[in-house]
Symmetry: C2
Subunit: 199 residues, 2 copies
């Protein structure tokens, strides 16, 4: 096996170990030492790939974001050719929320990194630019749907995009069992019914 692939796998293994540590023991427990123990490596081996906790964090965030994108891409395949924008928006929202076991660790990494970003300039840049890209993509879907008369063209596309993004606010309500998953899905459907209602 070529060395390049091996290195990449090692880095993925370490990122996965980090998610496991964050998932089981919380953010405060996610030191390089704890992650190394979880990955079954020495601290030195982990430090060979990631010089600092920060580097590992940035890699883990990117890996989490890539994983979410892959889940959305798989869902897009299932929607077939030229899917309705309502279905695309619904898919994106559902994959961003901790509604199934695969989405929970990536959602938690994301929430933890938002807090970390408040005190960490490079993380702030990384997470912020990811969010802005996500927002741009959603806004494109909204404006395209308006051009296709699937969303009322009188609605403000920025406001509607922001209201869609705000639906990720279901994350803590799901995590703490305040609103059950079925009710979250129902609320998303109601919001989308309303947005895509043209009279």
């Amino acid at each position: 096996m070529p060395k390049q692939v091996d290195h990449r796998r090692r880095r993925d293994d370490i990122a996965r170990a980090m998610w496991t540590v964050v998932d089981q023991r919380g953010w405060a427990g996610a030191s390089l030492r704890e992650v190394a123990a979880e990955a079954g490596m020495s601290l030195g081996q982990v430090q060979h790939y990631f010089a600092s906790r920060n580097e590992l964090l940035e890699f883990a965030v990117q890996a989490a974001s890539d994983q979410t994108s892959r889940r959305v891409a798989r869902g897009m395949e299932e929607l077939g050719e030229s899917p309705h924008p309502r279905d695309v928006v619904r898919l994106i929202l559902v994959e961003m929320l901790p509604l199934h076991p695969d989405a929970r660790p990536t959602s938690r990494i994301h929430a933890a990194c938002v807090l970390e970003a408040l005190h960490n300039e490079s993380m702030r840049e990384q997470i912020g630019s990811g969010m802005r890209d996500g927002r741009d993509g959603l806004k494109q879907l909204v404006t395209q749907a308006q051009a296709n008369a699937q969303i009322d063209p009188d609605r403000d596309p920025d406001t509607e995009t922001d209201l869609l993004l705000a639906l990720t606010g279901f994350t803590p309500l799901l995590e703490l069992g305040v609103v059950p998953p079925s009710d979250v899905i129902a609320a998303i459907e109601t919001h989308l019914d309303n947005l895509f209602a043209t009279t």
Copy 2:
């Protein structure tokens, strides 16, 4: 000054020191030792009031939640007698979001504690029950407005309550500067215009 008052003030001082530490250095830096240094006390003095980091966290969360309630109560006074439920809902949402300096530390404590709660049963209980109480209060406003024909009675009050709560999803978008405060306010107004539109 009676001793009782002095003790209470000490606890408040320590909680405030904790917010400052969380606000400036993030959650990971908020050890009892760091909080003691910020409060200008010895570790032993802090431990006299809070035996563990957990006890301090729970106190700080309660203090943050009380502070938010006091801000809402002040806002309610300004709304005068029998305010429109739309104004009450708007006030609650705005005070829950990090839209002004006072609301930022309490919002951050809350977000950090949601993550902590995933790995801390008593915190989970405390935060979850606070969220459920908040949800009950909002739902009461929605059903009352439906009874008064201010919200379409055909709407599902649980779904509408959940969609209002989800607007707290603007928190990370505000914190990372992805959506500016004025746009968040505009989006909340649009959502409320839609909810309170009766035809």
